[in-house]
Protein backbone atom coordinates (compact mmCIF):
# COMPACT_ATOMS: atom_id res chain seq x y z
CA UNK A 1 0.00 0.00 0.00
CA UNK A 2 1.36 3.40 -0.98
CA UNK A 3 1.42 6.22 1.52
CA UNK A 4 -1.18 7.97 -0.64
CA UNK A 5 -3.78 5.45 0.44
CA UNK A 6 -3.21 6.54 4.03
CA UNK A 7 -4.05 10.19 3.39
CA UNK A 8 -7.43 11.17 4.76
CA UNK A 9 -7.89 14.81 3.84
CA UNK A 10 -6.31 18.25 3.80
CA UNK A 11 -7.06 18.98 7.41
CA UNK A 12 -6.05 22.60 7.64
CA UNK A 13 -4.23 25.58 6.22
CA UNK A 14 -2.16 27.00 9.01
CA UNK A 15 -0.73 30.49 9.25
CA UNK A 16 2.24 31.46 11.42
CA UNK A 17 1.36 35.12 11.94
CA UNK A 18 3.91 37.70 12.97
CA UNK A 19 1.46 38.89 15.66
CA UNK A 20 -0.67 36.01 16.88
CA UNK A 21 -3.16 38.12 18.85
CA UNK A 22 -3.56 40.66 16.03
CA UNK A 23 -4.30 37.87 13.59
CA UNK A 24 -6.76 36.24 15.97
CA UNK A 25 -8.57 39.57 16.29
CA UNK A 26 -8.58 40.04 12.51
CA UNK A 27 -9.99 36.62 11.69
CA UNK A 28 -12.55 36.64 14.52
CA UNK A 29 -13.65 40.28 14.53
CA UNK A 30 -13.14 41.44 10.94
CA UNK A 31 -13.81 38.27 9.01
CA UNK A 32 -16.10 36.77 11.63
CA UNK A 33 -14.56 33.31 11.81
CA UNK A 34 -15.74 31.13 14.71
CA UNK A 35 -13.13 29.19 16.72
CA UNK A 36 -13.55 25.43 16.52
CA UNK A 37 -10.55 24.45 18.61
CA UNK A 38 -8.58 26.51 21.13
CA UNK A 39 -5.63 24.62 22.57
CA UNK A 40 -5.47 25.44 26.29
CA UNK A 41 -2.56 27.51 27.62
CA UNK A 42 0.33 25.62 29.15
CA UNK A 43 3.64 26.33 30.85
CA UNK A 44 5.32 25.47 27.51
CA UNK A 45 3.44 28.28 25.79
CA UNK A 46 3.97 30.85 28.54
CA UNK A 47 0.43 30.26 29.78
CA UNK A 48 -0.98 31.80 26.62
CA UNK A 49 -3.21 30.36 23.94
CA UNK A 50 -0.88 29.45 21.07
CA UNK A 51 -3.19 27.68 18.62
CA UNK A 52 -6.69 28.39 17.34
CA UNK A 53 -8.49 26.82 14.43
CA UNK A 54 -11.64 27.98 12.71
CA UNK A 55 -14.50 25.80 11.54
CA UNK A 56 -15.50 25.34 7.96
CA UNK A 57 -17.20 22.43 6.35
CA UNK A 58 -14.16 20.18 5.93
CA UNK A 59 -10.75 21.84 5.99
CA UNK A 60 -10.04 24.37 8.75
CA UNK A 61 -8.03 27.59 8.87
CA UNK A 62 -5.59 27.67 11.77
CA UNK A 63 -3.30 30.11 13.56
CA UNK A 64 -0.23 28.80 15.34
CA UNK A 65 1.94 31.10 17.43
CA UNK A 66 5.52 31.25 16.14
CA UNK A 67 6.73 30.98 19.74
CA UNK A 68 5.46 27.41 19.86
CA UNK A 69 5.84 26.44 16.20
CA UNK A 70 9.41 27.79 15.94
CA UNK A 71 11.05 25.25 18.24
CA UNK A 72 9.23 22.41 16.45
CA UNK A 73 9.71 23.46 12.82
CA UNK A 74 12.88 25.54 13.16
CA UNK A 75 12.79 29.34 13.27
CA UNK A 76 14.27 29.64 9.76
CA UNK A 77 11.34 27.72 8.28
CA UNK A 78 8.71 30.20 9.44
CA UNK A 79 10.44 33.55 9.87
CA UNK A 80 11.08 36.26 7.29
CA UNK A 81 8.78 38.27 5.14
CA UNK A 82 7.16 35.46 3.16
CA UNK A 83 3.63 34.24 3.47
CA UNK A 84 3.93 32.00 6.49
CA UNK A 85 1.75 28.95 6.66
CA UNK A 86 1.66 25.21 6.24
CA UNK A 87 -0.71 22.67 4.77
CA UNK A 88 -1.80 19.97 7.20
CA UNK A 89 -2.76 16.50 6.00
CA UNK A 90 -4.58 14.14 8.33
CA UNK A 91 -3.91 10.41 8.39
CA UNK A 92 -6.03 7.86 10.17
CA UNK A 93 -3.51 6.15 12.47
CA UNK A 94 -0.43 7.31 14.36
CA UNK A 95 1.63 4.46 12.87
CA UNK A 96 0.84 5.84 9.41
CA UNK A 97 3.01 8.86 10.24
CA UNK A 98 6.08 6.70 10.60
CA UNK A 99 5.25 4.84 7.38
CA UNK A 100 4.95 8.14 5.50
CA UNK A 101 8.23 9.31 7.03
CA UNK A 102 9.99 6.14 5.82
CA UNK A 103 8.55 6.46 2.32
CA UNK A 104 9.30 10.17 2.00
CA UNK A 105 12.85 9.99 3.31
CA UNK A 106 13.52 7.10 0.92
CA UNK A 107 12.46 9.46 -1.89
CA UNK A 108 14.71 12.21 -0.61
CA UNK A 109 11.99 14.50 0.73
CA UNK A 110 13.38 17.01 3.25
CA UNK A 111 12.07 16.33 6.76
CA UNK A 112 12.36 19.30 9.11
CA UNK A 113 10.87 17.50 12.12
CA UNK A 114 10.84 13.70 12.42
CA UNK A 115 7.75 11.84 13.67
CA UNK A 116 7.07 12.83 17.25
CA UNK A 117 4.14 12.61 19.63
CA UNK A 118 3.24 16.11 20.78
CA UNK A 119 1.57 17.39 23.93
CA UNK A 120 -1.19 18.92 21.79
CA UNK A 121 -2.51 15.45 21.07
CA UNK A 122 -1.06 14.39 17.75
CA UNK A 123 1.80 12.45 16.28
CA UNK A 124 3.23 14.45 13.41
CA UNK A 125 6.14 14.86 11.04
CA UNK A 126 6.97 18.00 9.08
CA UNK A 127 8.39 18.14 5.57
CA UNK A 128 9.39 20.69 2.96
CA UNK A 129 8.22 20.40 -0.61
CA UNK A 130 10.44 21.40 -3.52
CA UNK A 131 9.86 25.12 -2.79
CA UNK A 132 10.29 24.82 0.97
CA UNK A 133 6.58 25.07 1.68
CA UNK A 134 5.87 23.29 4.94
CA UNK A 135 3.62 20.24 5.04
CA UNK A 136 2.42 18.56 8.21
CA UNK A 137 1.36 14.91 8.13
CA UNK A 138 -0.37 14.00 11.38
CA UNK A 139 -2.78 11.68 13.16
CA UNK A 140 -4.66 12.26 16.39
CA UNK A 141 -3.29 9.99 19.13
CA UNK A 142 -6.76 9.30 20.53
CA UNK A 143 -8.36 9.13 17.08
CA UNK A 144 -11.55 10.97 16.17
CA UNK A 145 -11.39 14.71 15.67
CA UNK A 146 -8.77 15.38 18.35
CA UNK A 147 -8.76 17.36 21.61
CA UNK A 148 -9.70 20.88 22.70
CA UNK A 149 -12.79 21.24 20.52
CA UNK A 150 -14.93 24.28 21.30
CA UNK A 151 -18.67 23.91 21.60
CA UNK A 152 -20.23 25.75 18.68
CA UNK A 153 -22.38 28.66 19.86
CA UNK A 154 -25.32 30.06 17.92
Amino acid sequence: MSYKDKLDNINGICFFPRDFEASRKFFEEVWGFKPRRVQPPSAETGDAVSYVDYAFRGTVIALWDRKEAGPILGEQAISGEGHNYMTAVKLNKVEDIDAVYEEFTAKGVVCISKPETFSFGSRAAYFLDNEKNIWEFFAWCEGGDGPALVERGE
Binding site: Y3, L7, V30, G58, H83, Y85, N130
Partner: protein
Protein backbone atom coordinates in the same frame (compact mmCIF):
# COMPACT_ATOMS: atom_id res chain seq x y z
CA UNK B 1 -27.08 36.71 7.69
CA UNK B 2 -23.38 37.45 8.12
CA UNK B 3 -20.97 36.82 5.29
CA UNK B 4 -19.45 34.00 7.32
CA UNK B 5 -22.61 31.98 6.80
CA UNK B 6 -22.24 32.29 3.04
CA UNK B 7 -18.93 30.48 3.06
CA UNK B 8 -19.40 26.99 1.74
CA UNK B 9 -15.99 25.46 2.18
CA UNK B 10 -12.26 26.03 1.99
CA UNK B 11 -12.00 24.92 -1.59
CA UNK B 12 -8.25 24.81 -2.06
CA UNK B 13 -4.82 25.89 -0.96
CA UNK B 14 -3.04 27.07 -4.06
CA UNK B 15 0.71 27.44 -4.51
CA UNK B 16 2.38 29.88 -6.90
CA UNK B 17 5.56 27.95 -7.66
CA UNK B 18 8.69 29.63 -9.00
CA UNK B 19 8.89 26.87 -11.61
CA UNK B 20 5.49 25.52 -12.57
CA UNK B 21 6.74 22.45 -14.44
CA UNK B 22 9.17 21.49 -11.70
CA UNK B 23 6.44 21.83 -9.08
CA UNK B 24 4.14 19.66 -11.20
CA UNK B 25 6.82 16.98 -11.41
CA UNK B 26 7.35 17.14 -7.64
CA UNK B 27 3.67 16.86 -6.70
CA UNK B 28 2.90 14.17 -9.26
CA UNK B 29 6.10 12.12 -9.21
CA UNK B 30 7.36 12.53 -5.63
CA UNK B 31 4.20 13.18 -3.60
CA UNK B 32 2.18 11.10 -6.08
CA UNK B 33 -0.81 13.47 -6.27
CA UNK B 34 -3.45 12.79 -8.94
CA UNK B 35 -4.60 15.74 -11.10
CA UNK B 36 -8.28 16.57 -10.76
CA UNK B 37 -8.44 19.64 -13.02
CA UNK B 38 -6.03 20.97 -15.66
CA UNK B 39 -6.52 24.41 -17.25
CA UNK B 40 -6.61 26.04 -19.75
CA UNK B 41 -5.47 23.10 -21.92
CA UNK B 42 -4.01 19.67 -21.22
CA UNK B 43 -1.08 20.45 -23.53
CA UNK B 44 -0.18 23.83 -22.07
CA UNK B 45 -1.55 24.19 -18.55
CA UNK B 46 -1.04 27.09 -16.17
CA UNK B 47 -3.25 25.64 -13.42
CA UNK B 48 -3.50 22.14 -12.01
CA UNK B 49 -5.63 21.06 -9.09
CA UNK B 50 -4.97 17.79 -7.30
CA UNK B 51 -7.60 15.51 -5.90
CA UNK B 52 -8.16 14.98 -2.19
CA UNK B 53 -11.29 14.17 -0.32
CA UNK B 54 -12.67 17.65 0.33
CA UNK B 55 -10.26 20.57 0.05
CA UNK B 56 -7.79 20.33 -2.81
CA UNK B 57 -4.24 21.48 -3.49
CA UNK B 58 -3.56 23.56 -6.58
CA UNK B 59 -0.60 25.05 -8.43
CA UNK B 60 -1.00 28.19 -10.51
CA UNK B 61 1.67 29.66 -12.75
CA UNK B 62 2.96 32.95 -11.37
CA UNK B 63 2.55 34.90 -14.61
CA UNK B 64 -1.15 33.96 -14.74
CA UNK B 65 -1.58 34.90 -11.08
CA UNK B 66 0.24 38.22 -11.52
CA UNK B 67 -2.06 39.12 -14.40
CA UNK B 68 -5.01 38.97 -11.98
CA UNK B 69 -3.59 39.99 -8.61
CA UNK B 70 -0.65 42.18 -9.60
CA UNK B 71 3.02 41.23 -9.75
CA UNK B 72 3.67 43.46 -6.72
CA UNK B 73 1.51 41.22 -4.55
CA UNK B 74 3.56 38.13 -5.28
CA UNK B 75 6.49 37.89 -2.94
CA UNK B 76 9.95 36.77 -3.99
CA UNK B 77 10.32 33.28 -5.33
CA UNK B 78 11.99 32.28 -2.07
CA UNK B 79 8.89 33.23 -0.08
CA UNK B 80 5.99 30.90 0.54
CA UNK B 81 3.65 31.84 -2.27
CA UNK B 82 0.11 30.61 -2.13
CA UNK B 83 -3.55 31.49 -1.87
CA UNK B 84 -6.39 30.12 0.19
CA UNK B 85 -9.56 29.64 -1.83
CA UNK B 86 -13.02 29.84 -0.26
CA UNK B 87 -16.09 28.70 -2.17
CA UNK B 88 -19.45 30.47 -1.93
CA UNK B 89 -22.73 29.24 -3.27
CA UNK B 90 -23.63 31.94 -5.81
CA UNK B 91 -22.03 34.92 -7.61
CA UNK B 92 -24.48 37.14 -5.71
CA UNK B 93 -22.93 35.86 -2.49
CA UNK B 94 -19.52 36.98 -3.74
CA UNK B 95 -20.90 40.49 -4.29
CA UNK B 96 -22.47 40.52 -0.83
CA UNK B 97 -19.26 39.40 0.82
CA UNK B 98 -17.45 42.08 -1.19
CA UNK B 99 -19.79 44.78 0.12
CA UNK B 100 -19.37 43.60 3.69
CA UNK B 101 -15.59 43.39 3.38
CA UNK B 102 -15.47 46.91 1.89
CA UNK B 103 -17.33 48.23 4.95
CA UNK B 104 -14.83 46.44 7.18
CA UNK B 105 -11.82 47.95 5.41
CA UNK B 106 -10.48 44.73 3.91
CA UNK B 107 -7.76 45.29 1.28
CA UNK B 108 -8.82 44.20 -2.23
CA UNK B 109 -6.43 42.96 -4.90
CA UNK B 110 -9.22 42.37 -7.40
CA UNK B 111 -12.92 43.16 -7.08
CA UNK B 112 -15.55 40.57 -8.09
CA UNK B 113 -15.30 39.63 -11.75
CA UNK B 114 -16.24 36.73 -14.01
CA UNK B 115 -13.12 34.96 -15.23
CA UNK B 116 -12.65 32.88 -18.36
CA UNK B 117 -11.58 29.93 -16.19
CA UNK B 118 -15.17 29.61 -15.09
CA UNK B 119 -15.53 31.36 -11.76
CA UNK B 120 -16.82 34.65 -10.41
CA UNK B 121 -14.16 35.69 -7.93
CA UNK B 122 -12.60 38.41 -5.85
CA UNK B 123 -9.15 38.52 -4.29
CA UNK B 124 -8.30 40.11 -0.94
CA UNK B 125 -5.49 40.28 1.57
CA UNK B 126 -5.66 39.42 5.25
CA UNK B 127 -3.81 41.33 7.97
CA UNK B 128 -0.49 39.65 7.05
CA UNK B 129 -1.01 40.17 3.30
CA UNK B 130 -1.79 36.53 2.70
CA UNK B 131 -3.97 36.24 -0.39
CA UNK B 132 -7.51 34.86 -0.21
CA UNK B 133 -9.88 34.06 -3.05
CA UNK B 134 -13.64 34.11 -2.52
CA UNK B 135 -15.47 32.62 -5.50
CA UNK B 136 -18.57 30.96 -6.84
CA UNK B 137 -18.92 28.78 -9.91
Amino acid sequence: MSCFEKIDEINAVCFFPSNFTRARRFYEDVFGFQPKRIQPTLENPNFIEYYFRGTTVGIWERSAVAAIMGEENLLSEDAHNFLTSVKLKTPADVDEVCEEFEKRGVVFLAKPKAYRFGSYAMYVQDCDKNIWEFFAA
